[in-house]
Each structure stands twice: as structure tokens, then as C-alpha cells.
Chain length 313, copies 6
């Protein structure tokens, strides 16, 4: 009977219908809270950028942030910016800890002291972060014939920006802050194309030239005076799986690069191998075994070269 | 007589003179309209970003857009954001259609119904887009030993951002919307370094790790559970030319990648070749022919290795 | 003795203590001025972006900046935007000259005439910059089967954006403006992943497709109708050192690429070599010697191919 | 039976319940459209501010908008700004006409020609608006012993800002544009406290000093060289009602103020009375009848004055 | 004697010296916290504006906030906006309660339940607020011959804006929220010049025309259908002092205005007097005693009127 | 002959034609410079707001600017903000001096020392400005039964904002800075409706309640503990003219108000009269003569009061 069809047909492409379907799925793509929740918030990308920009103004005063400092006003600006940064950082650390906590239903709320201790330890690490960055700036200037001054490196070089973010993120990683370190290095990744996991441990005078496409994995250990070019990967070869077939987390699986190594563009080094002190790894090389100190590794490329008079592609 | 020279000399480097020269050339670099034109506008990059950000808030509610949703308020926010997005999108679609129309002088104005149908079809596709993205998030989490939760993948991974933009853009591409799909994937390209043409057809559980330098061409067909690393190119080998020597558009010219394939960093696969199910393509491999299912392709790299005691570069 | 403990203990992790240590180091990371200084300022990243955006609106009117131009209003908008750009540029040029000057303590202040001459010469170069860009747009459209119109190339292609920034920066480089040219190409690098040194001299109809990871060095000379793909490096092989072991600046050290050359993705060409007219360099090739005109260089890749029936990674 | 009470009780203070009540009322406080509507929009306050700011840059170039004009660049800036303003204005005029149309259900859509004619007529009126404003600036400077230059009046005086908005709004009022004129004078009202209805017809050399609290009604007619102080009201005495008891709209009901009149602070003049040429109306006077030319009206205030030696309140 | 000259002279106008003096005074102008304090913050003006703008979008949907609502999308927008507003409001209420608490050293921290109850009660009051505002819009339109539609009143009239802010603030005042109600009415005061204390109790169909300079005191009680013009003061006559000579807070000290009263511009009514039902108070009247229902009060102004033939001032 | 008509008719309402007419007039409404001019700029309204906001953060730290100060961070924030404010102020002072100079063609450029001396003197005056404002806050709190704490007065009261701007502007006025003081008080005028000329000399514990419509003239002298209500005018009676009929600038022409005077709403006092110590001036009073100490002046208002039973207007 056609009277049965008289009920209103809901257009499956109507706004309401689509909203209902988007909201009814039971996957994990929606992040909601019980309605009695207070003011729990996810960490904020904008706040992370603010923290990073603020720390750059603290670590390179005059180059970033306020640009017309005098010897008299320097302390005021560094102190005021640092105070503001720490407050923003504290809130973001608290959000990250709560976010992770919330995924472990039985766990207690984050104690305020824990956040306070983290901020205090992070603050105490800043002079050392600054000392390391000073060596990075020196390396960037001295190694680049196109550089006209260390200032230019501070001001313009994407490598310095990526390393600064890494050194900041690494301190938070060491303090077991979740999520935030990764957000900080992703911020640099987005701007520079240099993707360094915050877990990587990196020595003095570290230099990345051009940098687009560089990837440095979580458990890398990099010595002093190491220099990388664009497109270098220091990655994992394969993931040991646990009994359930899931990758085991936290196992050392990325290269150890000793002091004074240089790795040219496009080279790929995978697995927990050691690149010995003073080695040089050529461009586009694919390397999955260790090399002793002082090695010179290049690709024995066999080129097909055809020469003829015709032009064009 | 030199008195004839007394007429005012126009300085060729004066503002007026340069403006005149910039405005008088007859090339296609200026986009102007007849002066009686109504309010024709080019598509807006800012509006495209707004659409993409809005859709991310709809597809991953709580992670993007408003962050403190409850079960009660979820529908309101998804509905309001989606309504706003669709209105902005509708205007941009209309601009894109008009922009292309305008280049074909004889064509009729864009009928309003056409835009309406496109928006309706796009809206209807969103639940499926969401379903696919849920599988991508799962793949990103499960395949990365450094990932601590699926939430981290949603929140921080550039691969997820690039794939989300692609899946949105692909629906508009299928609806024959000009320009806009490309603007959406370029937005992701700019942020992540991952360049996927909106025409690419991509299956479930797609994962791109690190991603900088990845290029995926227009006619690629990618199966389920495929995993790519940074610097992978799925490109065209050469372009068939038509009688006038122009590339023929729309011909399948990029690889087919079957289910369960993994392609490591820097690998380049060119042309309409097929990478068989379950294959693994090694890093920096250059491949222009098909491989059967289950293949393991690696580069037989011959390395020159010199070992000596000296240090330094 | 407990009296020894009575002096107040300064907490080494207190704000004041850390600020003191950050401000007391004698390295070059802080940029301060004598307190009587007038209004010396560092160049501003935001102003540089403003200049570049403004010049794009002048060079591609209607596509960037105001979008609804008529034949009547075109001149007004080009003139007004150009006037504003030149004023901003003038201030930035002055800041850059002063910044460098300040590092050479004995030098005189920057004479205002010098800045004026630079701006005038830059202005005079714009029609030629525009002419070159018109050829680049043509090349981008004609070489890409996925391109639907030249407008799409102007509007969406990262290659065009990178080349536009380069051509603008190159004029300032030729006028010996410090810092600023590099800031302009770094702006494009950050957005597109294409890193071109402003010193590179590049001919007509230049095309970079996809582009992420491209690096072009300072002393490169590139002919007409050259086409590059993503990940191509045109770099220096090694740096001649002076008597003190420092790299000698300004020596030609990057490739010469003649007319009608095409270089595929991931290829690396290092040193002052010449790639002859009409050559084609294959993907991932590593090249450190010159090749004659018309050469076809590809990698003689030996692949280990294992085929078996198993699926999965 | 109490089992009847087991149905879930909807909390009347829940979000959903309040939203339902807010959305279900049938009053006129919600402005919605049929769901098939295209892109009808209400006029935008921000756009109105943009129009007013743009016109100030056109009418007082160098003082507002771009501040460093030269004789050469002046035309470019005035032309570009004016072109932009007219386009924004055109869209707002169209919105206002549609908004009113929509309230008269049977009426036709607004023809595009109508908007075009309005913009054209408004454009043609600008030189006269400028001429009048030049006389207003002169009056402000000459009448104020605290003014140091005409520039100060242009730059700082709220009276000039209010009159500029009025003169712009009045032209749109004469062209029968609905809503927009009122929005323009309300913008000035909000900033200056001076409330002039756009219908008021005002002669040359008009001056309002201080201005807060001034009210000038719709049908006022004000001659040349009139000067008002803060708190002056030129209002309506009472409203003639029609047969239904509603105020009859459009009837002349506000004062006529002839040339060379000065009205001091707080004076109130109500009704269609005439203040004769050259009259002076004293502060706080309440006047509801006409006065002949040359009159001096002051309040015969009887003050209670008590004098005693005590201090304090 | 060397001791006289050897000590460094601190320039009393140096930055450090002035900062020291500004920071060392012991007055109440600085608002600081103990250094171990968590994240206590003062209420934020920007957040208050956000709350008010959001509530206007909820109370007048389509006129404020998103402007292109359909019957289908209305609920989504009202719900999403209201949810966002309530969250912002909750945080501000919490800050205000803490701020006041902090001034009473012994008091307990603000319990979270208290804030929750306030928000819940405020939410429940919104339908009534909306009902009252509908009557105010009706009154504004019906009483103004220059008004063309109720929409114009909603959209443009400062009186409606001031009353909307008052009605919102009054609910918070009744819920004993400190500071915030005052911030909300001050926001309207700044924009409209209408200064209503949030404590004032105001009936239906309230109308303020023009409004600049209107002042309505904390303990005013205003009936239905009351109409005020610009510059009207409903103030306190004098403040009863307590034993210490301080004003006693909270005593009824402002006028009661009964139904259907109209008060013309500049009238001042002071003290706890009653203006009887249906009265009309003339412009500039100064009134400190009660008047019975139906009274017509006007100022018996004696004007000095001098008439002469001379023109000009 | 009709061939004479063949010349193109320029549409007088075309953009070009109107631009020409707007740019060709020889009045003073356009502010242009010789084309060789460097970077002369008018003072900037936005910078003035920035200066005022910054000074409020310095004078009321914790209430404005950064809100979560500790005893430790206070000095850093005050110092950094003050340093930034002084630099912005210095540039604005320089612009104002140059602007005035430029109107006196023969005059020398502004020497940098002059600006430096002004900034130094202004800086030295800030502790006294702060001391005075502390007395104003005290007066606002103690005199208002609705005030709950001094903090509320600092945070919410328009009177405090207007007086703070005045006290800042007055110091610059005393240092003979042109334009800027007026811009600062106009900023407060726009927000509060309180219009105080920066020349006014005002004692301690000054209080303005509600404030809309208050006008205080340039040569006013106001003692300690004076209290004003909304709508009070302290103005000039008439302007002595010089031989050319122009008002003579700088002559004392506004009231002297001695200590402990209170002036109620709407009162107008004009001319160089003296309001004796401890006097009280009633609302709406119009006063043009001096009154002795301790006077009580009220308006002997004769009211027409008609009482009848009818309701409504």
C-alpha cells in the first residue's frame, strides 16, 4: 500500500542526517568528555608555538622577540619573556599529563607538584641548552662558505631553527612530558622539512645544511661536530615485534653517529649501527651496517651515459 | 638643436614609468575583468584553509576546533561547524567553476543548481571519508613503535594531516570541481612536504611516515594497508604527446600499488607499472617496471669503503 | 658551624638565577646595543613577507592581492601596491646594511643615497623580472599533463612561488644587499621545500615540478628551458680552504646547467661541472663530473629482486 | 503508579532543553532563511567600518590610510583605495536592499543595475563631499583657541570624524539606501558620542566641539557656519500619529537652524522650529519655539546660593 | 675626600631606577601573587566581550554571529555557540569569585560546585531574558518614527545593545557573581554611552532612545513600557554614612519609575523617589521628589531672549 | 559639425575622473611629501594606544598587561614593558615634532637629543604619576557605595581610565610635545565619553563618576579631592580675539576649582571663575561667575507639575 510511503523520507544527504552519522560512530576519532567535566583541554598548538617563539627570544635575545635591546634592558626582557613562557608551558605540560592520564581510566589526577617539578627542572636546563646552541651556531657559520656572519645563521638558517626546537623538546622528553616534545619538533618539521624525534641525543656543534627531508629517529645518539645535509635519514631497519605481533617500544633501533662524522645528502643509514669517529658517508648511500672510524663510504655508482647530438627531452 | 632636449625626460626607473610597463604587457599574468563585471572573485586561499580546518573539526571532533566537547554538545558543534564549512565551500566551488568558465568565452554562467548538487554529494560522502580516516589513524599508530596512542597520531602526525586533506580533496576531484582539490592538497604539501595529487585513488589503512618529499601522481591507484616512507615518488615516466606535441592529459601514467605493499624512503617508482600485493620496495630504489606479488626489491648497492685512521672531514 | 648556613641560598633553578646566567654569558647569541642608540632595528621577517606578497600582487595582478581588477583600476592597484612595497623594502634594506655595518666597528653609517640607489635599481629591474616569470609560467603549464591552465600554475604551483621569490631575491643579491635576499628565498623554502640560493643565475622558462627537497647553490648557472624535479641537488663538492683552514668564499663551486636540460627526481650533481645542452639526468643519479651536450645519464641500478608467494611486510 | 515516573526527566536547565526553548519561540528575534537559499547575507558591521576608513583615506589622503604619500604616488593610492571601497560598498548596498526586500514577500529580487546606479551616483558625489569637509576643517580650526593647526583637527577631532561619517551617510540616504546610512552614523556615534541621523541636511563650515551627547534628528536643516557644543539636542517634540496610533514617518519634525547660529552645551531645541540667522542659544536652554534672526537666548537661571565657612561635602 | 666622588651615581631617570621606584611602593596598585601560586588569573575583558557577543548570537540568531541560518541549521548554531559561551563564562565566573576570595585572606577556595550552580541557573534564565528583549525590540520600533523595521532596531540601535547587556548582567548580578556584571555593562557603556548598573531591575518594553549620557543607578526599579531619552540620570541623592563616615552599601537610594513613564533628554531624577504610573518628565528637569501617577513635569524655564539685527557670533 | 563630438567623452562619474578631481584640489586635506623624502610618518593612533596600554600595565601591574605576576617576576615585567613603551613613545614623539616642524618650512630638523631629553623627563615623572593615580583610586572607591574594592575601581571604572590617560598626557603636554597628548586624551574620550584637555592641571584624589559628557578645558586648575559627575562642563565663556579676529591662544579661560569641591551631573561652569574650596554645585546648574568657599549652589527650578489620572504618553 502506498500509504506506507507517506512517512517523511529523511534525505540521507541532509545536514542532520550526516551529522547524526558522523556523531554516532563508535570509533576513537571523537574526543569528548563526561558532561560534568571541569575545564579539561587538549594541548594547544598555538600555545606551543608561543612557547617556542618565547624561548627563542630568551636564548637568542635581540634576534627574536624584542629587537632593540640595550645592556640595561636585556635582563628585563629575558626575565619577563621567560616568566611568561614558563607559565604557558606549565599549563601545556599539565594538559599533556592529563590527556595521557585520561586514557588510563584508573589513574589519579595529575598532582600539581609534578608539573611544578617539571617546570623547575626545565628552567634549570636552559643555560646548558643555550651553551649547546652557541656551539651549533659556530658550526653553521664555520662550515658554510655562503655564510657571512654567525648572526646570519641565527637569523636565517632553518637548520638552527630545527636544532633549537630539538634541544628544547629533548629536555622535556627527558622529563617524561608526553605529546609536547613531539609537537615542538613537528613545528620545526613543518617549517624546515627537518624531522628530528625529540628522543634523539645530540652532541655539540651539530650542523644540518639545507635540511629538507632529514629524518633522525628516537634512539639516535649523535656525537660532537657532526654535519648532515638534506635528505639524510637516520632510521630504524625493522621493528622487533612482541608476542602479539606489535612493535616493541623503546628498544634502541637507530644509528649511533660518533664525533666528527659528515653525512652527505640523501644518504640513508638504518638500524642500530655505529658510524665510527671521523667517517664520511657519501650522498645517496644506503647503509645498514656499522663502519669503523675514519671510513669513507661512497656509492660505486655505475652510470649509463649515452651521448648524442640531439637536444630536448 | 639641443634646446629640443629640454622636454621633460621621463625617468625610466620612476614609479609611473615602471607601473606603465608592468600594466601594458599583453601576457596572461594579469587577471582583470571587464569594468561592468559584478562581483566575480578568484577562489581564496584563506577560505580553503578555513574549509579544511573546519572539516578536520568535523571529522576529528574534540581534537581540532572546539576542544572541550561533551556527549551532549558534540552534535551541536559538529552540526554548526559543518553548516559553516559547507557555506564557505559552496562559495569557493562557485568561484572555481566560474573561473574556469570564464576561460571558455562562449560558455554559459554556472547554474546555481550545479553548485548545490556538488555540495550535496560532497556532504553525503563525509561519513565514508571519516570511516577511511579511522583506518588510517589505526595504521599510523600500529605501525610506529614511537607512537604512544592513536590520539597522538591524530594530533601530531603530518602523515595523517596530508591524508585527511587528500581524502577531502579527492571527493571534490571526483565531483569535477576544478582548482579547489589541488589547492587543498597543496595546503597539506606546504605544511608536511607530502605532495599527493587529488586524483590519486587510495585504499584503507594508508600510512605515510615522516613523509617529507613524498610525491604521489594523479592516476595512482593504491590498495589497502600500504605504507610509504619519506621521499617516495610514485610518478610518471614520460608523457605521451598528441599530434601538436602537447602532453595528452588524463591518461593513466602512474603506478598501481596493490594491497599490503611497503615502500621505503627515497624509492622512486615511475610509470603505469604494478607493484604486486605484499611486495616490499627498498630505500632509494629506482623502479620502472612491474614486480609480482610478494617481491622484495632492494638496491644491490656496491659501496666504496675506505677505512683509515685519520679523523675529521 | 651553622652560622655558615645563615646566608640566603639562591635557588639555582629560580627565575632570577637562570636569567642572570642567560644574560651573563659572553658569547654572540645576544644582540644588544649601547644604551644611547637611536632606533636601530634588525630586519623583520614579517616585513619581508609583506614585500614578497606585495610584489606578487604587482607581478601577477588579479591573482594575488586585490582580486577583482578591471582594466581601469589595474594601474591604480599596481601603482599603490608597488609604492607601498618599495617603502617597506627601503626600510628593510637600510636595516640590513646597518646590521652588517655594525659588525665592522670602524665603518661609516649607511648613507641614505645608497639605499635610494638600490631601490631605484630594483624598481627598474621589475619589468624584466615579470618577463622572465611569464616564461616560467608558460613552461610550468606546457610541461605538466595535470595542469589545466596557466592560471592554475600561477595560482597553485609551489615551483612558481619558489622561482618568483628567487627572481626577486636575485635582483637584490646583485645589488649587494646583505641578508634580505636570503630571507626571501628562505621564506619560499619554508613554504615549498625548495631551497634556492639567491646568488643562482637562472634563465628563461625555468620549471621545478613538485620541488620538495630541491637545493640550488649560490654559484649555479642555469640556462633556458631547464626542468627539475623534486629532490634534485645542484651543490658544491668540497670547499677550497684558505691558509687559515676557512672555506674561501665566493669561488664558483656549483654546476653549470646548459639550455634544455632535464634533471629527474633525487639526482645530485656536485661541483663546478657542466651539464651540456639538452642532456637528461636520471633520477637518484649521483654525478660529480661534466657531461657533454645531449647526454642521457641514468643509474645502472642492479636490483636484488626476490619473488615469493608470501604477503605482508 | 510510580513506575510512570521512571521515564527520564529532562533537566529544564540542560543545554538541549534551553536551546529548544530559544529556537522554538515564534517571535522575530531569529533571522533565518529557507534552506534552499543561496548566499543571502545581512550587511556587515566590519565591512561598513572598512568602507568608512577607506573613504577617510580617500578624502584626507596622507592623514588616514597610507601615511607617506608623494605627489607621484597620491593618485595611485586614492584610486586603489577608492576602487576597493566601492566594491565593498556595492556588496553592502546590495545586502541592504535585499534585506529590506525580503521583508516584503511579494517583491522582486534587487536588480543588479539598481546597485550599479547607486554606486555610480555615490562616486560622483565624493568631490562635493570633500569640498564640504574642507570647510568643516577650516571651521574647526578657526573656532578653537586650543587648535594648533588644521591638521590637528583632521587628525584628532571627534567632531570632524562625526561630520565626515554624516556627510558620507547622507549621500547614501539621499540615494534611498536602507540601513547602511544609519550603520555609518552609528559607527561615529559609538566612537564620538555624537548621534546625527543620516537624513539631516547640513551646510558648510559645520562645527561640533567636544560633541559627546549631541543628537541631531532626521529632518533637521542646518545652514552654513553653524557651531554646536556637547550635549546639544536638535530633536522632535512629539510624533503625529496616524489613524492606527502609529507615528507617521517622514514628516518634518526637527528644527531648522539658519546660517551663523551658535548653540551652547546642553541646549535642547525641539520640534519644527526655526532658529533665525545669527542667533545664539545659551547652554542648557530648553527651547520649543522659533526665534528670529540675531536672537540671544539664555536661561534666566535663578540659583540658590548658600555661602558658609564649612568645607567638605 | 675620595669617598665623595667615588660611588657610582645612579641616574634617577634611568630605566632601572624608575622601575625600582615603581615596584617598591607599598600601595595597592600592583596585583601580585605568592610565587608558588598556580594559575590564578584576573577576569579578562576580551573574554567578557566574547561572552556578550556570543550571547547576542544566541539571543538574536542570524543578526549576530553566523548570518546565514536556515531552519535546519539554527539549532546547531545556537547550541554550539551557547556551549562555547557557557564554558568561557564559567571560567570568568570562577576567576571573579577567586579574585574576591583572595581579598578575604581567611576564606576557602571557591568550590567547583558553586561555579557549576551559577552557570546552570544562568542558563535557565536565558529564555526569559530572550522574552524580555523581544518586548524591548518591539518598543524601540514602535516608538521611533525613523525606524523602518524591528530588524533595524536589533541591528543598529545602541539602546537595544545596552539593554541586552544589562539584562544579561542583571542575571549574573542576581546570582551574586562579583565584578563580571559590572564589566558587561561597562562594555555597553563604552560603546553606547549608556551607563546602567547591573543591579537595576527593569520591566518589559524598555526603551532608551539615542542614549548617550544616560545613567541608571544600582537600586533603580523600573516598570513596564518606560521610555528614556539621552542624558537622563536616575541617580542617588546622597549617601547615608555609617559610624566611620563610610557610605553604607546596598541601601535603596535610586528612583522607582512606574509603568508607562516617559522621561525626556537631560532630565535628572535623584534619590529613592517614585515617579508615578504614566507620568511624563520634561527635558533638563531636575527632580528630587516623588510625583503622582499621570503627572506632567516640565521646567518653567524663563528665557532671556534678546533680538537684534546683527548677524554672526 | 558632429565630428567634433567624436572625441571620447570622459564619464564624470568614472573612477579616473573622480580620482583626478579628488587629487587636483589645492586645499589642505591631502598630506603629501616631496618625492625624495625619506621615511617621514605621521604619528600613529595604534602606537598611541599601545603606549597607553603599556603604561597602564606599568602603573597598575597585574591588573593590565600580564596578569599573573609574582613578587619575583614583577620587576622583569615592569622593566620590559616600560622599555618597550619608551621606545614606541620616542618614535611617536619624534614624528609629532617633525610633523609640526614641517609646517614651519624654514625650521631645522628635530635634533635627536631633543627627543631623548623629552623621553628622559617623561620617564622621571612616572613615579609621581603613579602616586597621584593611587590617590585617585582611593577616592573612587571611598566615594562610591556601589564599589566593592579599590581593585574594582582600577579594573572597571571609566573615570580611572580617563584620569590615567590625562595624567600621562599632561606630562607630555608639560614637555611641549605637540599632538600626542591630545591623541592620548581623545583615546580616553572615545572609550569613556570623558573629554579632558591634556593641559588641565589636576590635584590629588580626583574623581569622576559615570563621566559620560564631562568636558574639562585646557587651562582648568583643579585642586585636591574634587569630585565630578557625568555631563559636567568646565569650559570657556568666550574667546578674546586678536587684531585679526582670531582667538588668542593660551590665555587662561577655564575655571579654577579649589580643593574639596563637588560638582553634580550636567552642571556647566564657564570662564576663568573660581569655585571656592569646599563648594558644592548642583546638577544642571549654569554658572559663569565665581563662588566663595563653602558655597552650595543649586538651581531654583520652577517646575510645572500637572497631575491627572490619565496614563500613557
Amino acid at each position: 500500500m502506498k500509504s506506507q510511503d507517506s512517512s517523511p523520507v529523511i534525505d540521507p544527504a541532509s545536514l542532520e542526517s550526516v551529522v547524526d552519522r558522523l556523531c554516532s560512530t563508535s570509533d576513537h576519532l571523537a574526543h569528548t568528555k563526561a558532561s560534568n567535566g571541569g575545564d579539561h583541554k587538549l594541548p594547544s598548538r598555538d600555545a606551543v608555538v608561543e612557547v617556542v617563539e618565547g624561548l627563542r627570544a630568551v636564548l637568542f635575545p635581540g634576534y627574536f622577540g624584542t629587537s632593540e635591546l640595550t645592556a640595561e634592558s636585556l635582563r628585563f626582557h629575558v626575565g619577563a619573556t621567560l616568566d611568561r613562557v614558563l607559565r604557558t608551558l606549565r599549563e601545556q605540560v599539565e594538559r599533556c599529563l592529563s590527556f595521557v592520564n585520561e586514557q588510563n581510566p584508573g589513574s589519579d589526577p595529575v598532582p600539581e607538584e609534578q608539573t611544578g617539578e617539571i617546570i623547575k627542572a626545565f628552567l634549570a636546563s636552559l643555560p646548558e641548552v643555550r651553551r649547546l646552541l652557541a656551539t651549533d651556531v659556530k658550526a653553521a657559520y664555520e662550515g658554510d662558505p655562503a655564510a657571512t656572519s654567525p648572526d646570519e645563521a641565527i637569523f636565517c638558517y632553518p637548520g638552527i631553527q630545527a636544532i633549537a626546537n630539538l634541544r628544547i623538546a629533548h629536555e622535556l622528553y627527558r622529563l617524561n612530558v608526553p605529546l609536547l616534545p613531539r609537537m615542538i619538533t613537528e613545528h620545526a618539521h613543518s617549517i624546515t622539512g627537518i624531522d628530528i624525534h625529540p628522543g634523539a641525543a645530540i652532541g655539540e656543534e651539530f650542523c644540518i645544511d639545507h635540511g629538507t627531508g632529514v629524518v633522525i629517529g628516537e634512539t639516535c645518539v649523535i656525537g660532537n661536530r657532526v654535519r648532515l645535509y638534506q635528505g639524510v635519514t637516520l632510521g630504524a631497519k625493522s621493528f622487533p615485534l612482541d608476542a602479539d605481533g606489535n612493535p616493541i617500544k623503546g628498544i634502541p633501533r637507530h644509528p649511533i653517529v660518533e664525533d666528527d662524522v659528515i653525512i652527505y645528502s640523501g644518504a640513508t643509514i638504518l638500524g642500530r649501527v655505529t658510524i665510527g669517529r671521523g667517517s664520511s658517508i657519501g650522498g645517496n648511500v644506503w647503509l645498514t651496517h656499522s663502519v669503523p672510524p675514519g671510513a669513507r663510504i661512497t656509492q660505486a655508482m655505475v652510470l649509463h651515459e649515452q651521448f648524442h647530438a640531439g637536444a630536448g627531452i
